[in-house]
Symmetry: C2
Subunit: 229 residues, 2 copies
Amino acid sequence: MAKPTQGGPKHAVRATRTAGRQMRSRLLNAASDLFKERGLAGVSIGDIAAAADAFPSQITYYFRTKEALFVEAACRDVLYAGRAAEEAAARAETTRQYTKALVDSVMHADALPFFAEALTLTRRRQDLAPLIERTIARLHAEGWRAYEGQVKAHGWRSRLDPETSARRFWAIALGVALEGYATGRGTEELAAEMLRVLDAQADPNPSEQRLKLVAGGSQKNSSDPETLS
Amino acid sequence: MAKPTQGGPKHAVRATRTAGRQMRSRLLNAASDLFKERGLAGVSIGDIAAAADAFPSQITYYFRTKEALFVEAACRDVLYAGRAAEEAAARAETTRQYTKALVDSVMHADALPFFAEALTLTRRRQDLAPLIERTIARLHAEGWRAYEGQVKAHGWRSRLDPETSARRFWAIALGVALEGYATGRGTEELAAEMLRVLDAQADPNPSEQRLKLVAGGSQKNSSDPETLS
């Protein structure tokens, strides 16, 4: 919406804006790789500039501080991880398959420990809280809309409303990742622990059956070969 | 079990050991206060020594590094918070009261964000992982035994086994605290969010009713005045 300034032609402004977006994106990519490998304290602005073939002043121009770049990169990554998980789960036929695909995808990405570190940082840097706030709201909203769409498409029954399901999914994902990475667990173990702890989404059949029994009719077999626990 | 060395009398060794324990405890107390206020990066070994009226060399003697002291203080605090929560919940009459008392107690303590920071730190300091591992195992085991005792004493019915309940409780507590502190939430909001996300423990009555209906008899009224959502 910005008008070209000083009489410059529109296309030049657009070109500049595009170049700016590309540089921003390149800096975020380089920062994400380095921060995930070494953490906030292990990376300098100079390291990121070198990796992105940019000048340190470009980092401070686009992001102001290393901490702000850290939080923005972590937020971007966790949103990508959430979308990748929804794509991985999109063809699930049952809530159990859906949950398992989501959990596997999220736990095999390395976005969660990165985001957890950003959350820890932001607790003492409340100037960075608004981006975290928007990111969590988007994670919840995107998760909940995707799940709601699946529930409607398949006629699944769920004990939890989709919004609470999404909030629970991300709270448990963060808690399990935080515990698991601290104790050196592998991603398979993290996924298994998350499925165990999620329970309600991972194992909706008993209550589904009960609901149907109470409602007076069920065609479902009571032994589910996919039972996890 | 250590024998007095160099022929010193036993009581002198015991006195030294007691003095050592007291100094350790004093250093942990001072460290806990300072770390909770300012975080790992905001506190030096010198600050802690000054606050505990000790020498910096005593900190390195007992704990080796600032990071090891941070993790030990955070582990001790979260175990205390777990026990305080069990005490706060001990007189609950229903699973809902029990869960609410636990959640309120844990979310009003400041041990969780401190422990979350220790978990984030330990991810890159795997030499400190064994203490974290033991602490999480104790948190789970103490929570699960306390809950199991209550379930037996009151004849509560629970959809989850006590061990899974305890693991879920702490994973959700960590995830909710991590999100909530990053976005500047107050402890009341954290407790409300945790109760919402926990759901199964906070609201076991619908499935209890279904179980009883399936089993063929219920004296329970289907409208529960305590329903949360």
